[in-house]
Amino acid sequence: MRGMITLDQVTKRFGAVVALDAVSLDVRPGVTHVLLGSSGSGKSTVLRLILGLAPPDGGVVSVEGTPVDATSRDRLVARMGYVVQDGGLYPHLTAADNVALAAEAHRWPRARIAARVAELAGMAGLDASMLRRYPRELSGGQRQRVGLMRALMLDPPILLLDEPLGALDPIVRAELQDQLGRLFAGLAKTVVLVTHDLREAARLGHVITLMTAGHVVQQGTLSDLEERPASPFVTKFLTAQRLAAPASAGR
């Protein structure tokens, strides 16, 4: 089966800095694929290239078999939902208006928008009374839920999430991780999730790609990484994360 999203020898530079160095990746349909790595590893850049927010300097990024370029990106981005850290909500719009933006642009009738927003609120576990609030009147977890709802509004087959839970405290974070896991499974979306958190990767990812300094180090399941590390770096990364979070080590 062809990959839903593929990167083939993709290179991206920002001035003298090489953000991605000949990265190849294959994201299968319906799979949650986690890009794991510390900051600066290039994992967020992968998402930006998939979205068409920046062009690669070398190699090809394809979505549903079509290379992402200046002419195709406008059409392809319609297939994707994008969630960033802390929600990336527009502060001047209420939660409901933030969620409704894309549907508004598609000239959906009001009633249809309202129904879909309500449906998404239920799905994301957001209390309906929160919908009338402005982003600054919401908690971090609520903002994140609204950001997710906004990305799902038009029901795109692909969901790209960039450190979606990065700004949340551990309890909310754990709760949302479980919820996201159920959601992804239920909706059968193709998901690419960027995180630096091993536990998050373990809980949500069917496939984990470990990146460092613009390279892919290893791709596989968590047990692949644990049991058959491709390099000493893999073991080092896994150990460091476990030591940093002893509370969940026994899980």
């Binding site: 979205l51 927010l53 001047h92 719009l93 933006l101 894309a102």
Partner: protein, 498 residues
């Protein structure tokens, strides 16, 4: 509703400024000094008495340049002028001295002049009468015998060729003790005996009060500045009775002493100009009581408030309509934007008064050109703040707008502009409040507004009149500030407010 009608009316009035005077109206202009105001008011009251046409007073237009151009462009129909100014400044031919010669020359320009009104307002040298008596000073030439005398001259007189430099050559004067001094202060210096000789205008209202004697210009050095009425020829043709009446009533009827008395009435006694004019004309037109003149002043402030509001609202409105799109373009296309913002910034470095003056050759005088200048002036804060507001939007938020495929226009209206609302509103606020102040300068080119009182007050050296213009302007600025604080609540999205 009434306000918007008033604004509409003002717009229409503005549109008609450039064109010829409407039927049945005579527009009387003046320069901005006491004598010119008084003569214009005398003319206006005479026109009213004849009743052939309605009078519009467009007085205090500034110096010769502005006032003459106003006449040329038919923004006014007549104003008091001086033969010396006509020959030297306007026609630039100093050999023209006689009224007939001037009139013949002006004919080609569609203008005409009355005969001399009877007085000349020329430069003269004045000495305290008792001192002149003691030293036997009668003529300017007599000064040559008294090199110990101290002279205090205004800077203009000291530099002009038809002032001190030419005068000392003509008379062979050697006064070693010449100082430059602010004119108003020189009177005090001469009264207290700290100075002996000063330059004055021959119809100066202070001459008699301070017991000053004019020294005779026996070698006829100072050019003749006989007062005349300078008018558009079509005025004489369309309103023959009025023109005939003006000439009959004024030609040869005002001698230097009479004019000096009228000037003193206003300058020294603080009488309203209308009253001085009425005193000259005699009869019952004099607004006798003080409360009457106060009421007239209040009525005038009311009218000026409206015209000031119109100046501010229309120019800031135009600046908003132009400035926000300019800011958007600047934020979208960087190179064009930099060029555009530099040009607007350059406009800002032109002093407001100079910018107003530049408008005259392009658009004439009056409200129209003032509006153009004020709009240009208000442009920078609005365009600049719009640009700054748009540039300050978080890049992630813009990328998300693209991912959501909102489209250019929807993104602009739904995301970009609301997110920049605080910066844009701040720019509009700055523009409005500063325009209230800058608009007072519009009066220098006959644009109306509170500046009319400030210009008049400056000309008459009357602090109360200056304040009558300046204080309401300050209040209006405060009012606008408050109004915009309220507008913030409507315009700035709730989610952005603190």
């Amino acid at each position: 509703m009434r306000v918007s009608l008033a604004v509409l009316g003002a717009l229409l009035a503005t549109a008609s400024v450039a064109g010829a005077a409407p039927d049945g109206v005579i527009r009387v202009g003046s320069k901005s000094f006491t004598e010119s105001y008084i003569l214009a008011e005398v003319v206006a009251q005479l026109v009213e008495r004849v009743g052939e046409a309605r009078v519009e007073r467009r007085v205090g237009l500034g110096g010769t340049g502005v006032t003459y151009r106003a006449l040329e462009s038919a923004a006014i129909d007549l104003y008091p002028e001086y033969t010396g100014t006509l020959s030297r400044v306007i026609l630039k031919d100093p050999t023209l001295e006689r009224v007939e010669a001037l009139r013949a020359r002006l004919e080609a320009r569609g203008l005409t002049i009355s005969d001399a009104l009877g007085f000349a307002n020329t430069y003269a040298l004045a000495v305290r009468a008792d001192r002149a008596e003691a030293l036997g000073l009668k003529r300017i030439g007599d000064l040559a015998r008294h090199p110990e005398l101290r002279a205090a001259f205004s800077s203009g007189f000291l530099e002009r060729e038809d002032g001190w430099p030419g005068l000392r050559v003509r008379y062979g004067l050697t006064l070693p003790r010449v100082t430059v001094m602010e004119h108003a202060l020189t009177y005090r210096a001469i009264a207290s005996g700290d100075a002996d000789v000063m330059d004055v205008f021959s119809t100066d209202g202070q001459l008699e009060r301070l017991r000053l004697r004019l020294l005779e210009d026996d070698r006829r050095f100072f050019p003749d500045y006989s007062a005349v009425l300078l008018a558009r020829r079509e005025l004489a043709e369309r309103f023959p009775r009025t023109w005939a009446r003006l000439r009959e009533a004024l030609e040869g009827r005002i001698d230097g002493r009479r004019m000096a008395q009228l000037n003193a009435l206003v300058d020294l006694d603080g009488k309203p100009i209308a009253e001085a004019a009425a005193v000259f004309l005699g009869g019952d037109a004099a607004p006798a009581s003080g409360s009457g003149s106060r009421r007239a002043m209040l009525a005038e402030i009311g009218v000026l408030t409206l015209s000031h509001l119109v100046l501010v609202l229309i120019s800031v409105g135009a600046a908003i309509v132009l400035g926000i799109p300019m800011g958007i373009v600047a934020a979208r296309y960087r190179r064009v934007g930099q060029l555009e913002l530099s040009v607007v910034a350059m406009l800002q470095t032109v002093p407001a008064l100079a910018l107003l003056m530049f408008m005259i050759p392009l658009f004439g005088i009056g409200q129209g050109p003032a509006l153009v200048a004020l709009s240009l002036y208000a442009l920078l804060p609005i365009a600049r703040n719009t640009y700054a507001g748009l540039m300050a939007i978080d890049r992630t938020l813009l990328e998300i707008a693209w991912v959501l495929r909102l489209g250019e226009l929807r993104r602009l209206l739904r995301i970009d502009l609301p997110l920049s609302a605080i910066a844009i509103m701040a720019g509009i606020k700055t523009a409005a409040v500063t325009t209230v102040g800058t608009a007072t300068l519009a009066a220098f080119i006959g644009g109306g507004g509170y500046g009319t009182l400030i210009v008049r007050g400056l000309a008459l050296d009357d602090t109360a009149t200056i304040l009558a213009g300046a204080a309401p302007a300050a209040l209006m600025a405060l009012g606008f500030h408050g109004l915009f604080e309220l507008a913030d609540r409507v315009v700035i999205p709730r989610g952005l407010r603190r």
